[in-house]
Every structure is written in C-alpha cells, then in structure tokens.
Subunit: 520 residues, 2 copies
C-alpha cells in the first residue's frame, strides 16, 4: 500500500533504484545515491544528511540498491535534503509533525508522510503561560538573566513530552519522525528558537530573523530523528507571523481569482486581502473582548464555555449552548458576539450597546454604579455562581467589533475596493471555528455579505503546517506568499478615527451598510 | 592592521556594513545582514549559522551595523555560510586549522584566517597506530563490534587534545577557530568521519562517500567553535584520497601549461600526470622499502634516522647524515636510496643489487646464508648495535624502485608521452622532503631528467589544506581537479611485468635511458 502511495510526485517520500557498483563504475555509495536522486527530483543538488551515512553502505547492499527515501526540499534554494532511508520491502511508517505554536494553546498533529493521514492529534496549553499570559509579559521576562532560556526550555521540553506520548500512543519510535513544520506568531517562533524577542516591540520593531533555514531537529533540541528537518514558517515582520502565512496557505487565498479576505482574530486582528496576483496584509489591536478576555466571565473557547446564545422571540428566554454540552463556566468571544447580537435584536441593548433597563427587567442589576446582565443563573451555571456580563464588558466588545470593522474598511479602501467586492471571506483561528457569521454581521463586526461568502477555516495555522508535511508544492507557495505580501501600516489618523467612531454603533451609524440586519 | 588585510577578496574574513533598520525598512537583523553579504560576495544565497543568531541583534547594535564576518563558501553550490561575526574595532584573531591526517603521522597547523600566517604547527603519531600499524589492519579492526567507533574516537580525541594545546600556546580560545580543512587518504577520512571502511578493500572497492559536505565541527565531535565548518578533501576512489588532491592543489600541477608529474610515495606510490587541461592519476603498490619498512633497521624519517649516505671515492669510507644530527638509530627510505646509489657507484653492489663480496670486504658478513652489509658500526650507532642491511632489504628496495619506475613509464605511456617530455617533476610527502633526486635517478627509480626538473613539495597535503584556509579560490580549483582527473586502473598485465623486469636492474636494463648515471 505504502509503495503505491509513495509514487506521488508531491510527496516527501520517494522510492529510488540505483545501479549497483562495479569495477567500471566505482562511484561511492553516497555519491551514487545522489546521482539517482538528482535525476528523479530534477535538481542540481542533494545534501545527504551526515547521520545517514554510517548505515548507508550496509543498507544499500541489504536492500539490493532500492530504497525508500525521505527527502525535504530546501524552501530557499534548489537543493533537497535526504533525511532518512527505509527498507522498501517493509511498510514502516515515516512520520511528520505539524505544530501550531500559539501564545495560549499549542496544537500538534502527527501525520504519515506517505499518504498524509493524521496519526495523532492533540492540543495543550503553552507552558510559557506560567511565565506570562501574553506576548508582552514574555518579552519582558526575557530581560531577566536566563529568562529567554527558561521560556525556550519550557516549550521545547513540553513538545518533547508530547512527542513521546504521541509516539507511545501510535506505537511509533521517535526516530520515525523525519520532518516537522511549525507555525506561530513572530514572538512564539523566536522563543521556540531561543532568539531574543526584545526588539520585536521596540521601534522600529525588528525581528532577529524573517526567513528561517531548514535546520536539523537536533539544533532545536527536539527529540525526534536527529536528521529530521524543521520548517518554521517565515514571518513578514514583528506583527505578521508565520501562523498567518500558514493560514493563507491553507485558505488558498493566494490562488483565488476574485478578491478575497482572510481574518484571524485574537487580541490582534490580522487581516489579509488579495487574490492570486497580490496580497495586502495588516494587523491591528482588536482588544481582548474577542478572545474571551472580559473581566468577569470571559474565557478562551474550551469545554463548558458558552459559544452560542439565543433569545427566544416572545418569551425573551435566554438559552445557551456550551462546548461539549457541559454546565456553563464562562463565555468566549463568539458567545459574546452571539449574546450582543441577540440582545440587540431583542431590544435589550441600544444602538450604542447600552443595556435598556425596561427591556432587561430582572436580568439587569446594578452594583457600584455598574450594570450587570445575568446570562446564566447561579442554579444553571457550572461554577455555582451566576454568569453575568457588565456594561464595561459590553463596551469592550463594541470597541473590539468597531476596531475590526474599521480595519476591514481601511484595508479594502487602501486598494480601491469596497467590502461588497469581496467574494470570499475566510475566518480563521479558534474564533473562526465557533463564530456565527450572522451574529457578527448583526453587531456590525463583519460586513453584511451573503451568508455563503463566509467560510470558517478551523485551526488554519495547524492545517497550513500539515500541508507542508504532505505537499512539496506548498513550500513554493509559501515563498510566493511571502514575496507577494505588502504590509500596510495602519496609521491611526483622523480618517481611521472617524471610521472607528461610526462603527461603534450597532450595527453602524450608516444602516444602509447592513441591509440584512433587522431588529424585532 | 587586520582591517587592512581583510579587504582581501580571496579571504574568508570580510568586513560588512549594513544600513540600519527604520520604520520604512523593518527587515529582520539576519535577513538584513544576508542582503548585504549577498551583494558583497555576489551570491544568491547566504546561510547564516543558527548558532550565531541569538547574539546577532545585540552585536549589530553595539557595533553600529558594521561587523567582521567569517564566511565559508560551499564548495559544491553557489552558497556561503556565515560562521562567525566579530567586532570590527577589535583585532581578535579569527583562526583556521589545517590537518594532514596520515596513516602514521598527523600534521596540524593553526592559521590566522585574515592574513594566512601560521600561528602554531605540530605533528604527532596517529593514535590509531595502537589498533593497527596500517590501513588493512585498521579496516579489519572495524569488523569487530565497536571497532570503528574506537578508531574514530581515538583520532577525534587526539585532535581535540592537540587543539587545546595549540590554543593554550597561542593564547587563543577554541571558539576562535572557525574553519578547518582536513586532507587524508580515503580510509583515514572515513575513520575520521566514523564511516565504515569495510568496502574500500573489497571488490569493487567502493567508498561510502567521495564528496563530503561542509559540515559543522560539532557534527564531527570537534572541540572548536560549534559553528565552524569542516572541509574534508574529496577522494576519487578507495585508492586515491583527498591527501593527493591537496597535493595537486599545492603543487599547482593543475595550472601547468606543460606536462608535469607529481608523485607521493609511501607503501603505495600515488602518481598524477597532467597539466591545466587534463589530469591522469594512478596508484600502485611500491612495497614498504621506500617508507623505511625494512626488516631490521628501517625506520620512518625522524630524529636520529639516517637520511643521507655517501661513500668517499678512494677510501671507500662510508659517512652518514642523520636527521637532527643525532647518533644513528636506523635508516629511512631516502637514506636507503642514497645508500643503494652510493653502493652501486662504488661498485659494491652489482646491476641486480647483489652485494659483491670482493668489493665490500669486511663490511659484508653472512649469517644463516643471508649477507648483511654494515652501514654504521656498533661504536658509532645510537642503539649500541651495528646498523646493517641485509640482501633481502636491498632486494626489497630494488623491487620498490622498479615498481615506481614502471608505474611512471606506464602512466606516461598511457597518454602517449615519454618520461623525457615531463617538464616538472614534483615529489611530495615526507619521502620527498628527504630524497636526493640524483640518488633516485642513479638507482633508476626516477627518470633521468635534468636536476632542475625535480621539485620537492614537503608535506603537500598539509600545504594544500592550509591553502583552503586562506584562499576562497582554492575550493574552485579542488572542484576542477576532482572533475578533471581520470583514474587509470593499473592492469598488472604482461607489458607491465616486462617493464617491471627490465626496471629491476640498476639503473635499468636499457642504460640509454639513464645517460647521466656513471659508475666508478
């Protein structure tokens, strides 16, 4: 089976036959293998990993000069690395590892390099959370002696433990992992590589490196085959990381013929607009509300977190859905958006997002001058306490949604397009997985486009990393994406502020922009 | 001073100025450095060693975006490695290490990469001698479990110790060694890299590798800067090693306009014939006599070893010179050649190399049917015993010299040349350092060419390795040499045997080939 799938021209696993040596052709084993691989891969240069050499002669002879090779193309030169060899008669699994290295969560997938099948998948908290919850505190932690080393060791050690668990559960040895692709924001990839992130947040915001070489896993201290290569997605700058490049790759935005847009929302909103001939990117602060960063009951999406809210017409009864259907513990960004949309539709908040006491009734209480709206009663909650959101939380959400909409308006305007011109609207990230586009349109966070325009991508960063493991072609695409992207510096000028002010209404001061939004 | 010498376009040390970053040009530090280096080195690709990255940002800023770079070109692709950076304001020594890895002796030279000056030089026994005196026994030792690992560890450990001593005596830290070039025969380089030499001596005589990548020093376990790169001279086959490529490079044979020849004599005689447009190489067994491998008093060249012998006309008194003028302990190959030439001139041996009792007188004794000739009396010897050579030793020398001459005749004939056509005759190796070409001509080992034709090269393998450390251009030449060489398989056929038989006379059966040789 594996033999068949491995004839795939886009795979990193290839079967090679060498002419056996003779007195008339006494080229060395390695050079002989290189000659055959060069022909097969149509390249000028093959770099055989030094660590495969000691075993090469015995294996070539045992396998009668036919072998399965794991090769990895250098993304930045016309050269390939031979990172592993395997018996063509045995169906040994040759695995790759895709990692989405998030500031808060790390997602991790083991893949069969031969056929792209997922072997194992998991996600876990970024252990650097122990040092600091966000990028800024971690960068400041690096100012302490040993701080950078500690952050680096935390993530490498955790990855190694997860690799061990993954291998155990798949009945795989660590040596069978030959390739790894990792996507993360610029700060996370710097910490992963042990590079000082200090200058990322200081004008003029300079990373140590944009485009990373394909290094051996051992260089990073990763406990997989030491010959394995690690592809780290390149970044475009301090505020535009490899995770977003992976997202673009996965979405296929760079291959669209019509203008399309991709957003990835966390504390920062990252936006890429473009098609197969150009790409324009920008990033802006969206505020913490969309990531569940509200003061009281905000949470990251996870089990027991409210991700859907509906208010029944007539009875005005609030129903919530939680992830995994557990008793509600808190509310995440997409839950907040749903809630705001439902409250707005039900007339419980006004155009500016203020709770209307007459409409809210008993659900609204005021403590120390701050109105609180009860979403889940203490009786129904998983924490034993009522889940409430404050007016401050709602204001924060309104600012976030206004920032998001303003960024979208600004970037489309910068290339002379209107939001209505967008034929596809990709929503990435955890946020994208749970968001209800209709609710986001209702509150005026996303433009009022036909429902079919919106496509959620899931963990597009992990999917992009997976794509690198299973398709040679993807590396060429990444290089193209990197070269094509123009980064738009969002100048917070008077025009931006005017747009922002207009977007702070529900859905917008200009209702004609949101014809589909109706209120009961 | 260093600043001036480093503008040398052929040096591995370059000074680079970068434009400082700004909000309008926020390329990362590493990518910015690459852009400048690409322009300066006129290349498409610079690979910055991962280990230089963590310190790069701080240093760039401290040095105001001007830095001295140690760069090393990949010999097999148009890419350069950045292996070290240094403060342009400080005159830090950036060093390289040249190694000639011989089967018996290892020669070792520390060089200032900026100006090519030798900083330290030493030589020592190859510690693998403890496992086996010659290539064959060491290859067989690798058949034992752990045998290869032991041989590899022996040489790496010894090199690391010598590096430590060298650094101590030069007041240099090991981290300041950024480049290493190593030349050795095919077996020695395999053992250095921990690669199994098993198939080198088994038909069809296949090395594990011919052309070696520029690996990091850490890959080989060498205790110098871990970013340092190690250039191992490529081999052409089992019997034609990188040491000879280094010799060709040093001799300049590959740049001669007229046909020239290079010989390197040990147990094997290695011969390269050619000029700037073609190179023909062969190797053949010369027998141990030329390396001092005689049964009784033969020794490798070294202190107290007889390297010159003369017999006074008239008195027939024998005078010997020893290396370092110490009391004589034994005799080396070049001493044997001198002795044979002098005995032949003095009429003490006949055309076939047989001692003539009447001419030798008391100096000749016979024990158990074997004639012995006393070269140094017990009284004058450094060992307390007389130094004698037996008829068997002399016969062995004759066979060796006949083999040498036959190989020379065969290779020149193979390209339609005569020995008289050779305009330059390079003699490499320790043997070449001590040999008196006139004596070698007298016994018919080397052809009867004008005295000025012969040039001794000293340790051409070490000199070739040194050249790599100080000249970028040399890597291109090595590649050319490798590509140009045709290897001539010496078929020991009837014609070869006829030539060999004719060459077993002193100087030759055909005296017309040696017009300059006269006998008293």
């Amino acid at each position: 089976m594996t033999m068949e799938t491995c004839v795939n021209e886009d795979s990193w696993v290839r079967t090679v036959n060498l002419p056996p040596p003779s007195l008339l052709d006494n080229t060395a084993d390695c050079d002989r293998l290189i000659t055959s691989l060069k022909r097969q891969l149509r390249t000028d240069r093959i770099v055989v990993d030094f660590h495969t050499l000691p075993e090469l002669p015995l294996r070539l002879r045992a396998w009668k000069y036919t072998l399965r090779c794991v090769v990895v193309k250098d993304p930045y030169a016309n050269q390939w690395y031979l990172v592993g060899i395997s018996d063509p008669q045995k169906d040994l699994c040759l695995a790759g590892l895709a990692v989405d290295l998030g500031t808060s969560r790390v997602a991790f997938r083991l893949v069969d390099l031969c056929n792209g099948k997922s072997l194992y998948e998991t996600s876990f908290d970024n252990p650097q959370l122990r040092v600091g919850p966000d990028i800024l505190t971690r960068i400041h932690a690096c100012d302490r002696p040993g701080g950078l080393h500690e952050l680096n060791r935390l993530i490498i050690r955790e990855l190694n433990q997860e690799i061990q668990s993954a291998c155990r559960s798949c009945n795989l040895t660590k040596k069978n992992i030959y390739f790894m692709a990792l996507a993360g924001n610029t700060c996370m990839t710097h910490l992963f590589m042990g590079l000082p992130p200090k200058w990322l947040i200081r004008e003029p915001y300079i990373p140590v490196i944009n485009t990373l070489n394909l290094e051996r896993a051992s260089v990073h201290g990763l406990d997989i085959n030491p010959t394995a290569r690690v592809f780290v997605f390149p970044n475009i700058g301090s505020y535009f990381g490899g995770d977003l490049i992976a997202g673009i790759l996965h979405s296929g935005l760079n291959r669209e013929t019509e203008p399309a847009i991709l957003i990835d929302v966390g504390t920062n909103a990252e936006v890429v607009l473009g098609n197969d001939s150009w790409l324009m990117a920008c990033a802006g602060a969206a505020g913490p509300a969309l990531e569940g960063g509200m003061a009281q009951i905000g949470m990251m999406a996870g089990p027991g977190v409210v991700d859907r809210v509906s208010i029944e017409a007539g009875t005005n009864r609030i129903t919530v859905d939680t992830i995994d259907n557990l008793p509600p513990m808190g509310i995440c960004g997409s839950g907040m958006i749903d809630l705001a949309a439902q409250l707005f539709r039900a007339g419980k908040i006004d155009l500016r997002g203020r709770f209307i006491p007459e409409a809210c009734g008993q659900e609204l209480q005021v403590k120390a001058d701050m109105p609180y709206f009860e979403v889940v009663s203490a009786k129904n909650s998983g924490t034993g306490r009522a889940l409430k959101i404050s007016q401050a939380d709602m204001d924060s959400l309104i600012r976030s949604k206004a920032a998001m909409y303003t960024i979208l308006e600004t970037i489309t305007d910068s290339v002379g397009l209107l939001l209505d011109d967008l034929k596809t609207f990709y929503v990435g990230g955890t946020f994208g997985t749970y968001i209800d586009p209709e609710s986001a349109v209702t509150i005026g966070m996303l433009p009022d486009l036909p429902a079919g325009t919106y496509r959620t991508l899931g963990n597009s960063s992990l999917e992009g990393a997976t794509q690198v493991l299973t398709s040679c072609e993807s590396l060429r695409q990444i290089e193209q994406i990197k070269t094509k992207i123009t980064y738009l510096e969002l100048n917070v000028n008077q025009q931006f502020m005017n747009r922002f002010s207009a977007a702070k209404f529900l859905p917008h001061t200009d209702r004609s922009k949101f014809p589909s939004v109706t209120v009961r």
